[in-house]
Amino acid sequence: MVVLREGMCPGLDEDLLRDLRAADIKTVEDLVSSDIEGLAQKCSVSYKALFAIRRVLLAQHTAFPVSGADLYEELLSSTAILSTGNPSLDKLLDSGLYTGEITELSGGPGSGKSQVCFGVAVHISYQLKQSVIYIDTTGGLAAGRLLQMLQAETSNTEEQMEALQRIHVFRLFDVYALLDCLYSLRSGGLQQVSVGGGSVKAVIVDSVSAVISPLLGGKQNEGMSLMIQVAGALKTMAKDFNVAALVTNHVTRSGSGEVQPGLGVSWSHIPRTRILLERVEKAAAVSRPSLRSAKLIKSSRQPCHIKEEFDLQWWSRSEKGSLGKRKLDETDS
């Protein structure tokens, strides 16, 4: 609700404001929705003047429509697909993380969500040479692990340091700090962060459920409202700045006993793509404890329920031989 203040537009002076308030018109919405003729009589101001004020206020505060053709052109030139660094995950995601969208990774404890986030961050900062914002709400991020992954990519210390510098970490532990962080990033923070080298291409929030789920449940609405506000802030940032948002979520059991992502039905509409991570239970997997299976549970581009298996150690595998051929680690460490 935008409150009417004097000077908002030409013609809106203090006297008129007082008359309007006496007629119970306090906000822009009230003014726009009310009957201008009757109001003009009550406030002893000309119909034309009040109508002009209404028109200016409306133009100032509405969203401006964009033609579909222009929107399409803009999207074509600005949307990018960021590879996650792991070909199986990329296959599931239809070549990678799309900018302008929220992708969700959910899974139980130890299912590898944070490891996947580290891997994606390292891949984007080292291979794609772009900046990443990593918002850590669980305290699970250790720079040593990132360095370990980078050391597997290159043995050049300078390159490692450069890549580490492109990953910007924010540690927060409650939803208000998260909202503050997202809003400040939107209003200039992202530009500041990009000055170092490479524009920000991804924002990773690990995990979004850690700060929101304590507020849900019971009969209060505030938790749900905050959750929707976080979603709105992330989506606006993703769209306006062309970044890919990756969030992680915990899992719960549904009424029928199946594992499903947490945060409920209202959150389930927020991410465009959702992946469920699980440990692999097959007998053959006992020798490879870092094997995980990813199931696509929501996607607008691929049929759902397709599964891919991948190794969490992919991002720290020993590097390609001198001939440039890629060598996958066959034995487990």
């Binding site: 929705s33 429509p65 409202s225 209202s266 465009r272």
Partner: protein, 217 residues
């Protein structure tokens, strides 16, 4: 028009950034190619009939609908408003409204009243999507998702209600065994439509699949 379309202007009001424009264009492109031959100019002219607006709050939605009224009078070809989704601000409004239900629902009911007036005065059609929710503190039961939770003015405005649901992948693929490669099961969606105009009460169902080229039976 050669492709069998209506050549009508459309306004898409987006509240939660859910429009996948690239997907829309690929569906449009495949339909045009199929029916009228690949034509860049036709695609562009179709796209120029689409007006896209994004609202970030229910206040802005209300103001934008007022603004649309002037657009409606200046563009007589405009006949369809799509709102995706009308429930996006539900929780934020409920929290802002404090303890009184009237205050919580005030903005949405104003939008609904305005839409009702636009429907009558300009003879347009409105399609809106509404997400299913589970209210906190209410025990979850299957009948919950079918009841509308939005304000009464909106419920009165709705004449056709389509309930979409996803059929869980059943055992019809049991024959495939453990072949992961063959998991391209067609996800079947069903739509159950109920109309509640004053004279007729009817309902029917239909199923469809979503493919690269849009819907298919």
């Amino acid at each position: 028009e050669a492709a069998g379309g209506l050549e009508v202007d459309v306004v898409f009001v987006d509240t939660d950034y859910s429009l996948d424009m690239l997907h829309l264009v690929s569906i449009l492109d495949s339909k045009l190619t199929l029916l009228a031959g690949a034509d860049e100019a036709a695609l562009r002219s179709c796209l120029s009939r689409l007006l896209f607006v994004h609202c970030y709050s229910s206040s802005q939605l209300l103001l934008t609908l007022h603004f649309l009224e002037t657009t409606l009078s200046s563009r007589p070809a405009l006949a369809l408003i799509l709102i995706d989704s009308i429930s996006a601000f539900y929780w934020v409004d409920r929290c802002e409204g404090g303890a009184s239900y009237t205050k919580q629902e005030e903005k949405l009911s104003r939008c609904a009243e305005l839409l009702g007036r636009l429907l009558r005065d300009y003879r347009i059609t409105v399609f809106a999507t509404c997400h299913a929710i589970r209210r906190p503190g209410v025990p979850s039961s299957s009948s919950d998702s079918e009841r509308s939770y939005l304000c009464r003015s909106w419920q009165r405005l709705v004449t056709h209600r389509l309930l979409c649901s996803r059929q869980e992948p059943g055992d019809n693929m049991a024959a495939e065994g453990g072949h992961d490669q063959e998991q391209r099961r067609q996800q079947i969606f069903t739509v159950h439509c109920t109309t509640s105009s004053s004279r007729v009460k009817a309902s029917w169902s239909s199923s469809f699949c979503v493919t690269e080229a849009g819907f298919s039976e």
